[in-house]
Symmetry: C2
Subunit: 484 residues, 2 copies
């Protein structure tokens, strides 16, 4: 277990000052004020702006040093870069421990003057004993504490922690993963990483008892060797998922102008990450899929799947996709076929894995719920439940029969101790589609599955890829512990 | 140009009889009646059931031969397999040209008796001069004619034709592709292919003047050599997209029990398809992406993209993904930078391709619409416009500024003769999310883009993969014509 990090107390401030607080809704100074108020920040919140006055019902102090408290733990700087040095002097006087520089246009511009200013800021902060988060970042989302970097993120906490070099990426990650049922311990957007960097954040999350799964978006690392060492330690504790930005020719150049990062060769990255047991993904959507997999599924190491649901075509293509990711679809056992023969003699020799559920229409098997029954069988590791949109049945049948059947069977499968992966291709639903009962019903079924703590994926490919990487991770963990 | 197929007249019947019409909403006999009524079938519709009576306001005849017309063009059989042979005798008397056997449980059961019955049916039909579609299929969706195989499919026609060995796959394909703005000439579900098969359907769609793009889902082919010959001819006329079901070990076995198909080795398939210029896809979602690409984009052969929109992280990962699919992101030209220097001196040397649109916040460039301006530049083939969800701006700003700006700029880029690919990661939107203005607004923006005839993809990966295959196809077409 890595040592406890000194970042913990910094991320749980008793008081925050937003410097550059503003009434302009386009400005960071307004938005951060809104985020903290709306997410119920539990400490003291102070606003600072030379114009004084009042913002969102809070008094505005003309200067940090005017705040009538002996100390302020955490400052969010929303002022221009050239004003940060004098602000740090004030922070020293107020015993500030951490300054989050939302302030940008520093080293990432690629210009000499701004690059120099960034290092001057860092130097002064070091002298004053102040830690710097950023510059050019969105800071901290810590729902338990009421810290947030965007509007309307979940107020409840969960087990996923993350650090993101992109603030927009961090916000979209939280927002979209939340729709899939994921909740978060804390997520940190760290931008240019002038002080607090990927290594320190990784160490922090590895030792953080509130975090069980680590997600990250990294454009570049300052010290490759140290990063790999930290990664190797962290991945032995919990799954670490890494999305590397700047993998190609263009991205490597761009990393420089986005967060002033040196991107490094992607081949070196891939080799190093694999060695460390980290899980590498290629896009923000895949990052979310991977977090969903690790959140809702146990440490599976087997690769035998039963695929069920959907008509013949969907079953078949699902089977193809799962096999292409290295899974195996075992045959139904002779004992099970014998049971099947008693109940549905017309199908017993015909039904296969993947199970074309449409075959059971008009047989007694619909009623006795074949899926639940089969889920008591041994000989497989993962149950894949496809919910399809193609059924030409009317609304009341869907609501009263099909949807409850689907929900009950996946719940029963899970209750029988099997790992369940649901696949619902909700498609591109919009306000117009929401007027159709079918789309609404499918979306509602998805919500209920999420509420039951089950993993849902929007396509067989995305499900199979995420589960393959999950199995790879737990298999690696198993082989690692054998070596010890 | 392939010869005109004899299937054309069969697919445009003047009269249809549904044999086995029923009041039971779970039955095919009810559903097909509903489909034809709801989609406004333009010919005469007759219902047949020994129980007589009335269904959905239509008189039911006890037997096909009782219909008071000298002939019926097209029969949809919803009766059990064992009743099909006598039905064919009646069909002969009524001068029926095509029998669609929704009837299933024939060769796909893998049993001798059923397999024999399927060939007896075919033999008798041949003697009577009747063509068979199926068995075990959903038949024809032909919106211009009011034929449909599912409920609430689009009534308007379009340029995409398709043939699907899976009925459920066909229905979901139409339903989901329609949400992306695709419309169809006709789509045929052909099941066990006892008579009308993949070769005849491919020839038909290749010569069909209403069809510009061919989509297909195929589990197996009866005559590989003939299929490849037809494919080579068809792909020289129009894009042919093939989703092969049963690519793996399990799928090959399953194909037998789904539509009685011999699946064939996937390696042989891939090699043959590539040689013929067909576009191979791996899943139903990818099939839809590919159809969207061919429907909304011109015959692009260049691989230079400009990626714009989204914050730094999203831009960077988008660039990675496009490069990983073989595209190139050219640098912004010196002339363009010069213009940029005049307008936004603080950014001119910093902005790169991919364009992190968030950099322009607070500069005059937001107002003069940098995207439209840049779209007049030469030196690139495809414009990728990312719309992101991470912007922490309030509803009125989104509705009055951001969404109109996005829509206007993509429309202007298209007007300037550039190919536009929009990427909107709408996520897993459901009824609860629709209560949030932001999700609703994003979904609404997507709808408006679709309405403007632009291609929209739900992720950078899916966009890049589909466009890569489109460019591959048109590049192949170009090299083919050079050889002539």
């Amino acid at each position: 277990m890595p040592e406890e990090s000194s970042l913990g107390p910094l991320f749980s401030p008793g008081s925050i000052a937003i410097v550059g607080a503003s009434l302009n809704p386009f400005s960071g100074g307004y938005q951060f004020t809104r985020f903290l108020i709306d997410h119920g920040f539990q400490g003291k919140l102070h606003l600072v702006n030379p114009a004084s006055g009042e913002i969102l019902g809070l008094k505005v102090y003309p200067r940090l040093t005017e705040i009538p408290e002996p100390s302020v733990d955490y400052v969010i700087s929303c002022i221009p870069a050239e004003s940060v040095l004098p602000l740090l002097d004030d922070c020293g006087k107020k015993n500030v421990k951490l300054v989050h520089l939302f302030t940008a246009r520093l080293k990432e511009t690629g210009r000499d003057r701004e690059t120099k200013l960034q290092s001057d800021i860092l130097e002064k902060a070091k002298k004053l004993g102040i830690r710097i988060l950023g510059p050019n970042c969105m800071g901290i989302y810590y729902p338990k504490f009421g810290l947030s970097f965007n509007h309307q993120l979940p107020r409840e906490s969960g087990s996923v922690g993350g650090f993101f070099q992109s603030g927009g990426g961090a916000a979209e990650f939280v927002r979209y993963a939340a729709l899939r049922g994921v909740r978060f311990s804390k997520v940190v957007s760290y931008g240019n990483a002038s002080d607090i960097d990927e290594v320190e954040l990784l160490d922090y999350f590895a030792s953080d008892s509130e975090t069980e799964i680590i997600a990250s978006y990294i454009e570049g690392v300052k010290d490759g060797r140290k990063f790999v060492e930290s990664l190797a330690l962290a991945a032995k504790e919990k799954p670490v998922i890494v999305l590397k930005g700047g993998r190609g020719r263009t991205g490597a150049k761009l990393a420089l102008s986005h967060t002033a990062s040196l991107a490094g060769s992607i081949n070196v990255w891939q080799a190093a990450l694999k060695q460390c047991g980290a899980t590498m993904v290629s896009s923000f959507q895949e990052l979310i899929d991977q977090v969903v997999a690790f959140t809702f599924l146990p440490p599976i190491t087997g690769r035998r799947v039963i695929v069920a649901g959907g008509g013949g075509g969907k079953s078949m293509v699902s089977a193809d996709v799962w096999e292409e990711e290295g899974f195996e679809l075992p045959e139904l056992t002779a004992e099970f076929r014998k049971k099947l023969k008693e109940k549905v003699p017309e199908l017993w020799d015909w039904v296969r894995n993947p199970i074309d559920a449409s075959l059971f229409q008009g047989t007694p098997m619909v009623d006795i719920n074949v899926l639940e029954w089969l889920s008591k069988e041994d000989g497989f590791d993962i149950w894949v439940a496809n919910l399809t949109q193609d059924d030409p049945l009317p609304e009341d049948i869907w609501e009263n029969v099909l949807a409850p059947n689907f929900l009950n069977s996946v719940a029963a499968i899970k209750k029988n101790g099997k790992s369940v992966v649901c696949v619902i291709e909700t498609g591109e639903i919009g306000p117009a589609e929401m007027k159709s009962w079918k789309w609404r019903a499918i979306a509602e079924t998805r919500r209920q599955i999420v509420n039951r703590g089950l993993a849902v994926f929007p396509s067989p490919e995305r499900a199979a890829r995420a589960i393959r990487k999950l199995v790879d991770y737990w298999t690696w963990r198993g082989s690692e512990s054998e070596l010890l």
